[in-house]
Symmetry: C2
Subunit: 192 residues, 2 copies
Amino acid sequence: MPPTATYEKLLDAAQDVIQVRGFNAFSYGQLATTVGISTASIHHHFPTKNDLGEEVVRRYRVRFNGVLEKIRTECSNPAECLERYCAEFVATMESGGRICLCGMLASDYETLPENIRREVRLFFGENEEWLAAILDKGRRDGVFRFEADASDLAITFFSTLEGAMLDSRMFEDHSRLRRTIECWRGLITVAV
Amino acid sequence: MPPTATYEKLLDAAQDVIQVRGFNAFSYGQLATTVGISTASIHHHFPTKNDLGEEVVRRYRVRFNGVLEKIRTECSNPAECLERYCAEFVATMESGGRICLCGMLASDYETLPENIRREVRLFFGENEEWLAAILDKGRRDGVFRFEADASDLAITFFSTLEGAMLDSRMFEDHSRLRRTIECWRGLITVAV
DNA sequence: AGTAATCTACTAATTAGTAGATAGTCTGTA
DNA sequence: TACAGACTATCTACTAATTAGTAGATTACT
């Protein structure tokens, strides 16, 4: 299954709809219209909706891991790592009021099949683990200050970002997400 | 339109489904089975799905405002207010892995009609305003410490709770929400 | 010749919502 | 008190649209 142009277009269009409207408000019919193809042809590339859904999330997760790796290698300072990390969420938000794909799917979680649930859990776990490492290093380096377990703080921080994206989109005010990030900077950064 | 028993049962059942599975994964057909009535009878009480949805959110919002008022009058200490506030979210979470109704609807936001959107925005606004007042008072009283604008911190805190509910439910681990709340306590509480 | 990608045409289920009939209940009045 | 009319809640039976998915033919590339 080499990724043809149509195959990629289907993944792109599906991801787009899921990020904005959620998994249940996305259909083969609508996708067919968007891509300019028949629903039967979509079934040729992705036998079922769950197959397509799984591949959308898997691709998103793998790409995001690439970004995490890039940030880690390019920044030495944990504070800078965190800035770049947050910038990814702001960028998603500002590209048409999109929500993090997996944040969206976390809401739809109860309606998802197990293969997609697994991918979403992986995404959350990988992000929280990455954040925990950055936060912990930052504390050891003396740039961050907090009492809690770094893993717990990572969950808390990640939850804030996912929640703030929903909040910002609803009020059509992207500055809300940015202010939220600014708040966190103030809460954990050691004054210089 | 005095609220009859059936009327209330419909609101209860609808709220239940929306909190667990979202607005789009809820139908008159399923609701009819749950309540033991025909779909046509549901239309008698609520002409359209949007009418039912609006009333579910309105009732939820009004009830929640009652809780906020109760907390404010019963607690003098802002730290205690915040504890009681968080306890509401933990209780929701622990009653069958429910998500805050409006947190759920914030995800579905793009697919909602304006009458329901308005209610969800009101809920968020009222909560954030209430929290901002508590946080600000706590800082003036010397029980909380933070640099940011109290309103911004309120948005940040509220976003964390909404996000953490999704996170906790997904990992089937309610302690995640509690640990998140514990983290926040550590971040803003002045040591005694 | 074989394979990949597409199509038309279909199925069976589910969706929100409507039409119109049938009970049961409440109220005002003779 | 008894009855007439109105109202409330429910039902069965339907419509039109949308859903995911299938069967089988056709086109086009290799």
